[in-house]
């Protein structure tokens, strides 16, 4: 049974986290600012930012926050997957217009924490996260796709 | 005149604001005058009707007749299937639309 942990940060945000390490406390800087400095450990990507710009620096990043200005803007899903495919193991956070019905797809793209603008109903989220037994395709999570179950 | 119309949330039926309620029959529709926006806001929370909007119509003997053919089709039903309209037995109903 998959369930998130609710965390209230010092900054007053409510996070839903699927990680058990400590919430990263440093403020997330913009991509431009990050690329201009050497010591930032948290970066925020806007929907149109190129996640690949972070690839040379993944070792120093503890948190990447990706913005969803509206829930219909799907660019963040690709950004997340690109980071996970490149080996990023830090916290990958979806922030903004994040609704309960999108969180399962976001998890599969590699997001492991969520900062939704509006509260998410915990019971609905738990139900949705545990609804599908196995996915059809490989993504950035550890779930085994159906074709692998069929053929080993 | 100005009518308020939308689709019933649960059934999808075309409905018309009657002054206190929503009816499937355009003959029951009232002129909302300048009150349209206020009624829209009030009805949003009631969750009875999806995306209601205002349309222009003229008052006629048979009741309000929407200015645009699209809303006349909504009021009656598809012109190519009279049997599926609100007035299947009325031979003149199609002429009212067109």
């Amino acid at each position: 049974m998959v369930e998130p942990i609710t965390v209230n940060t010092n900054a007053g945000e409510t996070l839903l986290r699927f990680r058990d390490d400590v919430v990263h406390d440093e403020p997330a800087v913009t991509l431009d600012a990050f690329l201009g400095q050497t010591n930032a450990t948290a970066v925020r990507l806007e929907a149109g930012d190129d996640a690949r710009a972070l690839l040379p620096h993944l070792g120093q990043i503890a948190l990447v926050e990706i913005s969803f200005p509206t829930f219909r803007d799907g660019r963040g899903y690709s950004a997340a997957r690109i980071l996970r495919e490149a080996g990023f193991e830090g916290e990958l956070r979806a922030a903004g217009d994040v609704l309960v019905d999108q969180i399962p797809h976001m998890r599969r793209c590699g997001f492991d924490s969520f900062a939704p603008e509006k509260p998410v109903d915990a019971a609905t989220l738990t139900k949705l996260l545990n609804l599908y037994p196995q996915p059809y395709q490989k993504a950035a999570d550890t779930r085994v796709p159906v074709w692998k179950l069929r053929h080993g | 005149m100005k009518l308020l119309t939308g689709n019933d949330l649960a059934t999808g039926d075309v409905v018309w604001w009657t002054g206190g309620d929503w009816s499937r029959h355009i003959e029951d529709a009232v002129d909302v005058g300048g009150q349209g926006e206020a009624i829209l806001r009030a009805e949003e929370g009631a969750r009875r009707v999806n995306v209601p909007y205002l349309i222009d119509a003229e008052a006629t003997e048979q009741g309000p007749r929407p200015a645009h053919i699209k809303d006349r089709i909504r009021a009656l039903g598809p012109t190519v299937r009279p049997d599926l309209t609100l007035k299947p037995a009325d031979a003149d109903a199609g002429a009212w639309v067109i």
Binding site: R72, S78, E85, D121, K127, Q134, P135 | N7, G12
Partner: protein, 541 residues
Amino acid sequence: MYRYDEYDQSIVDARVEEFRDQVERRLSGALTEDQFKPLRLMNGLYLQLHAYMLRVAVPYGTLDSRQMRMLGHIARKYDRGYGHFTTRQNIQYNWIKLADAPDILAELATVQMHAIQTSGNCIRNISSDQFAGAAADEVADPRPWAELLRQWSTFHPEFTYLPRKFKIAVIAADEDRAAMRLHDIGIQLLERDGVLGAKIFVGGGMGRTPMIAHEVKDFITADHLMSYLEACLRVYNRYGRRDNIYKARIKILLHEIGVDAYREQVEAEFAAIRDLGIDPPVAELARITAMFAGPDFASDAPDTIDRSDPDFAVWLDQNVAAHKQPGHAIVTISLKPIGGIPGDASADQIDLMADLAERYGHDELRVTHAQNIVLPHVRKADLYAIWTALRDAGLAEANLDLISDIIACPGLDYCSLANARSIPLAQKIGERFAGRQRELGELKLKISGCINACGHHHAGHIGILGVDKKGTENYQLLLGGSGAEDVSLGKITGPGFDEDGVVDAIERVTDRYVELREGGERFLDTYRRVGMQPFKEAIYG
């Protein structure tokens, strides 16, 4: 055809539960309409003029009699006794209640059917050639590849909020019977040095700005098809326009950055992901392919047909195509009776077609993108019995590819996006030309009730676009489009007409064609030879 295993079934069942929960939350107000709309669209549920409309998926247009009967059952139980077959090989019901939608999906799931991703900004039904598995000219049956892609695209977590809808077609012959070049991604299977692979085309589409897909990949084998397509989709998801819904399709992206730039970006993405284990083993395609092995055809089926009934002979010549197996044939059932509603079938007609498939057709049917139904595998010896049953049910119009075999969108009679009605126009055209249609020969006429082009009017030999002219319905006439392998986009003739005016204009066009044609030229061939000018003169004087 494909049969679900426990995994496929569990996914469809889970989807039903998910949607049931979403509908409850909508009805209770926990979800606003703005939040609910993309979710219901991804289950094929539109809000249209008169009611909710449900679009049920028919994957690559293939279904069996049990599934066909379920479609008839849905029409009777939840709708008003009929369904409408669409230009993407799906079926639509026009009178659905939101509260019933979860139960409908539950019933569909019992026969391995669903309405997944038949709308919304996601990857839609993968379409294919309606003669797949029966035509002699295919290099292989394209449908196993379509099934592989159906599974890959279903609930793909990265591509569920694309800039816009995404349509893929798969064919396997040089003759394009699925309008492949007018899709966001078109795939043509072919053989290279004895190896089966595919050519990939990207950036086709109709709508407001019709475009023909460009070749982007010369040859890709099945073992990397999925990672290659992921790269194609990812570039689109990242860089497709999201500022203007009329410029959000992938065709606009290719148009704006150029095919070469798009190809380079895809290759770069492909290089980054091709070894990440995204592609299933070839055993998976082999597993699916085995299910499409085709029926056991009788090897001694007689090849001769008794043509003595003249009406039967006319239908035989027009609606029956050659099958790769001797003694067999491919039947197209016309859903375009003169004066009828193109693509509609009553529940009784749906049941009859299911019965015919089960009895005479190795239990298989196809939906074509021209809104007709195909029985792909019948014996020549059974054609007469099939025809008499169709005739008695009003399904024997002998008009395949003739002027009355009209592709028409539902138009303003049903659709909230439409500017004009299309069905009454289709009826008038059918009635005007019924007596001359055989003389006119192949003439693909397509009608769209608005610029969204769901009736594929850009790809019509004669196309008609319904517009709103100061509050009244008006129709523009286009000539010279084609959705086949000789793909081309129609050109507007000039000022538009009212409903009767456009029928008259078409008559002047066809009269001029008959005057000018040489040899066995189709209308399209004559148009391409002589150009627009003679027709323009005929129409406008």
